[in-house]
Assembly symmetry: C2
Homo-oligomer: 350 residues x 2
Amino acid sequence: MSRFKVVVTRNIGPDALGIIRACNDIDMVLWNHDERPEREWVLRNAQGAHGFLVLMSDKVNDELLDAAGPQLRVVSTMSVGFEHCDLRALAKRDLLLGHTPDVLTDAVADIGVMLALMASRNAGQGHKIVLDGQWPKMVWAPFTLCGPQISTLSGAGRRTVGFVGFGRIAQATLKRLVPFGFQSCLYAGSKRQNQDANRERDVELGSQLGIVIERVDLEEVAKASDVVFLLCPGGEETHHLVSESFLRKMKRTAVLVNVSRGTVVDSNALAKALKEEWIWGAGLDVVEGEPDIGQDHPLVKEPRAVVIPHMGSGTHETRTEMAKLAAMNVVNGIYGRPLLAGVDVKRYVD
Amino acid sequence: MSRFKVVVTRNIGPDALGIIRACNDIDMVLWNHDERPEREWVLRNAQGAHGFLVLMSDKVNDELLDAAGPQLRVVSTMSVGFEHCDLRALAKRDLLLGHTPDVLTDAVADIGVMLALMASRNAGQGHKIVLDGQWPKMVWAPFTLCGPQISTLSGAGRRTVGFVGFGRIAQATLKRLVPFGFQSCLYAGSKRQNQDANRERDVELGSQLGIVIERVDLEEVAKASDVVFLLCPGGEETHHLVSESFLRKMKRTAVLVNVSRGTVVDSNALAKALKEEWIWGAGLDVVEGEPDIGQDHPLVKEPRAVVIPHMGSGTHETRTEMAKLAAMNVVNGIYGRPLLAGVDVKRYVD
């Protein structure tokens, strides 16, 4: 019986590792730490591997694939995004690429709602006041630290939520927002989507949730929304979609939430929009150039921006599911079975 | 025509002040600032007043009421709570007391949900990492900064929310939580409530929301809940209801949210519970002894506690409604009309 070798570049937890360990003909080389391994360790251990289980901070390129050798079958990343993987390099070797979509839908939708509330309610400033020991000196006045209200007050008019990108996470976010009093949902989607199928889905979802869902131009999302959620993929197509021009069209009381990719937002334009009060606030799980976002970054310095360090999928439950899915992907790939969640690599390189 | 005098101790915004200004026979003495006035200013201007519009930081006691004189008819506070008012002093003079309940229901429910998410998702720690410029040095590992998930993952079992106190704000909070996947709601209520009427309401609300609502002992709320919201009144009856014994009964993955009164929680017991990991986290809009909560307070030092400086009702919309209601209460009291929201002072002193 031939044996297989898999390289796992991080401690991905007992549940996921158990899936690989249960395969008697797979030898696992495990970097059993939280910190990523040196590149040299990865390249050395790559030799003879049939599968890799990697994270976003591991570069998957010609160098690594060459180091492994021609027996390599599959690369499985414990992430939804695969910007760290050279798709051309994978495609020309006919390699499979697995990733972990869908399982993080709820965790990301949760953090989106949290950031919308934090941004509108000045929770970043409030939290900082307490951390800095300033609460005792704070003047309590009728409008101290007030922000716009996400939920509707009875009789206080309609609330509209806008989405840039309207996939599973956006829909899960919308579902959570309905009882806050949102009656209308606008979204701008990719031109590549099937518009007729989407229209049917929108009518069905809208009637299920008791609200109106409408696909509109990006400009209309900016103009009409009380909260705008960015939930589109990264990459060139969406680079700096949220620009000075987008931000100038937004309501002065609106908040922007980015839980997708930092590159979707022009950080300097957003910092300016907050400083000059074109919009009310921003809640950001991602920032372009992360993790190199220091104290002097214009958005970190901006009191109306709440920035957290890319924690969108960070729950025990979700990360465990992601790790298990990544483990099943690498095992299936090694055994020549279809991946549970694979990236159609060739589609991207043609 | 006789004229009336009203003293307003803070800038409560144009909408509310407009209500008083519209009354031609009322002279308003206004402390038109955010900072509270010196006591001496209040006492001096009290003389001859028929009504007061005050905030929580203004003490309403014999001294003030004597300074006003026997023509005084009404005290209106722009707050729900009235711990700053000596009810006995009001009762013996047959004075009316107005407050501002209900209008802040949605704003407080919003912040409760926000704090539950922040506490479970380590948002306080994440926010601090970014503020401190530590994001670039952060190690991204599969379980970095992970917390328990508020929402249910498909197939990941049930979620139970617990409330201590189950009035309007708790019910508004529950409504918001349903789409996160909560299937069960437990609450502990005051023994003084009409149990039969509540049982009917619970069945109706539960079937409307598609979940099970059950009144149980305080102990059961502690034991069975994934999130516990404190939404009961302050005062002696609820003093340190959340004690070491309560906290020891909670789940290790549970979070505690206090948006009611700081006195409901024993702060030292909670700090110990967080440090020793009896529970996962806490989201606190209120802390006993506030606003004198400095950097050395055990809960401020505790990374698993998110503390914000009493911002529960802090939205423009809600504070404006509170101010308008307070203005209408003082006007109605002066004119001898029933208050829109009055405290039954005599009930409390008998």
